[in-house]
């Protein structure tokens, strides 16, 4: 199994385990964040602590030590220090997006799943929603105050995030 497929499988496995666990309280999908450190709810609790991504990597034959040594945000080939002849493909787990309050210059970095799927839209929108609340930005004019960028994401993704934030603010 490739590194990328292993990650996808872990995400799906971890999510299913969480949904079927006694910790699942019917949370809406976007109320949890899947990260390389686990699945976290809005209170920051790891809701699926049984298996770490590092353990999963080990099961798939990629050592966690080398994974940790690789740059998490860039696709690159790197030498595995434990197995020098082996090349390990580092696939970015998350894409960093910078959101900025253009009136105050306050910046927050949010991380979108590199898949840029529906979950990523909702997770990023939730982070922006929290940022808008924290900065006490007028919910009717946040669109002209918040800037988003910093990495290569398609226009369509940003627009989906925009629509989701609007939905969050009105619900």
């Amino acid at each position: 199994m490739s590194y990328e497929l292993a990650l996808e499988a872990w995400e799906e496995h971890a999510w299913q385990e969480y949904v079927h666990s006694d910790r699942y309280r019917g949370d809406r999908f976007h109320e949890v964040s899947i990260t390389s450190h686990g699945i976290f709810n809005q209170q920051g609790e790891n809701v699926y602590p049984e298996i770490s991504w590092e353990d999963w990597l080990k099961d798939e034959g990629i050592c966690a030590e080398c994974y940790g040594a690789l740059h998490p945000f860039s696709s690159m080939l790197a030498d595995c220090k434990c197995k020098p002849k082996r090349k390990v493909l580092s696939v970015p787990l998350f894409i960093p997006l910078m959101i900025m309050d253009t009136e105050t210059g306050e910046v927050s970095v949010v991380k979108a799943s590199r898949h840029l799927d529906d979950l990523a839209v909702k997770a990023v929108a939730l982070d922006i929603y929290k940022f808008v609340k924290k900065q006490k930005i007028d919910p009717d004019s946040w669109q002209s105050v918040i800037s988003i960028g910093g990495t290569q994401v398609p226009v369509g993704f940003i627009v989906q995030v925009y629509n989701q934030v609007e939905h969050e603010l009105k619900s």
Binding site: M100, G149, P154, V155, V159
Partner: protein, 86 residues
């Protein structure tokens, strides 16, 4: 005021950079940039660098200054309003 935009097709990796200068304070470069970027996206679509039906999922627009998030939504409407001849 001049600001620099780049349009990149994530399908073909074609990138074009445009420097937009309004020269008039009453017409912000950001507003001019909207039209310039939209026209460039339309050109990319016409020349096969972006898929007709899902161009927005394959195009990255970068700017050397911070753009409000509303820019991207308005950009969709701007491109949709152009007579893109496929």
């Amino acid at each position: 005021m001049a600001i620099k935009f780049s349009v990149t097709s994530m399908v073909t990796n074609r990138t074009e950079i445009m420097v937009v200068a309004s020269g008039l304070d009453i017409l912000p470069a950001e507003k001019l940039g909207m039209s310039t970027v939209a026209a460039k996206i339309a050109q990319f679509i016409e020349e096969g660098d972006l898929p007709v039906d899902a161009w927005e999922e394959s195009v990255h627009v970068h700017c050397d200054t911070s753009l409000p998030i509303s820019f991207y939504r308005d950009l969709l409407e701007e491109v949709a309003g152009l007579p893109v001849d496929i």
